[in-house]
């Protein structure tokens, strides 16, 4: 059974179709939640909340392709994560001050595996991580991020800059560790 049929069945309340859709997208959605929320339990809970909303509002969803479905699901998950973070995080407070700014080398990230990149992102402080995810990965402009998180555009930009610097430092550290491990 392909995705349009599953969507059609799920709209009519078929539990089997809903389960098929869940099995198909659950892991990827969980990884999205993991990028925003550090704790795996919280991420799973947010993923379930997102799927609950998806199945409740599936009647309003107009299927226009697999990519559209994936984008819609992803948007739901990101919104759930932001709602969760808004309750717990004050984004205006900068937790770390960095003296010098190091530009992030994108090529260095290309050399890393997806799991390594995710692990690096998870290690970022919550403010940096959220804005890096939203701007650098999702491609949301600063003005929209500012509106979403209730901060100023300047704060969003500075947080992103600091996130990049910290990532670069972490990359450099990883390279050194990797080098030392190799020499040993």
């Amino acid at each position: 059974m392909n995705i349009p049929e599953l969507i059609k069945e799920a709209r009519q309340g078929s539990t089997a179709a809903q389960k098929c859709l869940f099995d198909q997208f659950a892991d990827k959605m969980l990884m999205i939640c993991r990028r925003y929320v550090k704790m795996p339990e919280d991420a799973e809970e947010l993923m379930l909340d997102g799927f609950y909303k998806f199945f409740k509002n599936i009647v309003a969803f107009n299927y226009q392709g697999d990519a559209a479905l994936y984008a819609w699901l992803k948007k739901i998950m990101v919104n759930e994560c932001l709602m969760f973070l808004r309750k717990k995080t004050v984004f205006t407070i900068v937790s770390e001050t960095l003296a010098d700014e190091l530009p992030l080398q994108e090529e260095a990230l290309n050399n890393l595996s997806a799991a390594e990149i995710v692990n690096l992102i998870i290690q970022l402080p919550v403010g940096y991580r959220t804005i890096f995810n939203l701007h650098a990965i999702e491609g949301i402009p600063h003005a929209e991020i500012a509106a979403l998180l209730g901060i100023t555009e300047g704060t969003s930009k500075s947080q992103l800059s600091k996130a990049r610097t910290l990532l670069q430092k972490m990359l450099l550290q990883n390279q050194t560790d990797y080098g030392t491990r190799k020499t040993r």
Binding site: E44, L104, E106, L109, A114, A136
Partner: protein, 234 residues
């Protein structure tokens, strides 16, 4: 740095979407997650239930309140008492005495009953109204009232002893107002007597002349007896 171009680093971002789980972490248990989700989907939202509970509680409260008001209305004693007939007294006291104190007291009691809608038991006798009686002015005798009423009413309606329920302030004792002339002769006779020139005389025996008053008693004095005539001025 700030003016980064997302398209340039497309490949590493694309790879982020392909990953299913992090290495070193346990694989996500989809079945358990699905069970949780399925339970949630099967349940109705909590808020609706709570709303219905609140609505039901409010309805119960309103019904209980209405019931209580009804019961309270039923329990409130509303007794309308028609004015009782005042028993006519003998005419021997009419005249100088302005009003009969007993009758006055009865009137005040009736007024209190009318104003407060309270039935008061008088002299341990049940209160009967004059409904259905031809002679309203006649004194109410319980036996006559019972006889005049149809038998089913006499059997069903019983006089209620309300004295136990209602406390009435003790009636003020009004002193009997007596005209001063009541002590002597009737007023009219006194007036006629005063108008007439015939003044009454009485005799006073004077035993010791030297102790008498300063006026001369020589004219009326005879054998130690003084005849004094009262003038209208006296």
């Amino acid at each position: 740095m700030v003016h980064e171009k997302p398209d340039e680093s497309f490949h590493w971002k694309k790879r982020l979407g392909e990953i299913d789980h992090l290495p070193g972490e346990s694989v996500h248990d989809k079945t358990a997650s699905w069970e949780k989700l399925h339970d949630r989907l099967g349940k109705k939202p909590r808020t609706n239930k709570i709303m219905w509970y609140w609505a039901a509680a409010a309805c119960l409260c309103i019904l209980a309140g209405l019931q209580w008001i009804k019961v309270k209305e039923k329990d409130t004693p509303v007794v309308t008492v028609e004015p009782l007939a005042i028993p006519q007294r003998s005419s021997d006291t009419s005249g100088i005495i302005k009003s009969n104190p007993d009758a006055h007291a009865t009137h005040t009691v009736i007024k209190k009953r009318q104003s407060n809608s309270i039935a008061v038991k008088e002299k341990n006798k049940p209160v009967f109204t004059s409904i259905g009686l031809n002679n309203k002015n006649a004194a109410m005798d319980p036996d006559t009232v019972k006889k005049s009423l149809p038998p089913f009413i006499v059997n069903t309606v019983k006089p209620v002893d309300t004295i136990a329920l209602i406390t009435v302030a003790p009636q003020r004792k009004k002193l009997r107002v007596v005209h001063i002339n009541e002590l002597g002769k009737p007023m009219e006779q006194e007036i006629q007597f005063a108008r007439s020139n015939v003044l009454p005389a009485f005799e006073a025996k004077v035993f010791r002349q030297d102790r008498s008053a300063g006026f001369s008693l020589s004219r009326n004095f005879s054998d130690n007896i003084v005849k004094i005539k009262l003038s209208p001025s006296n």
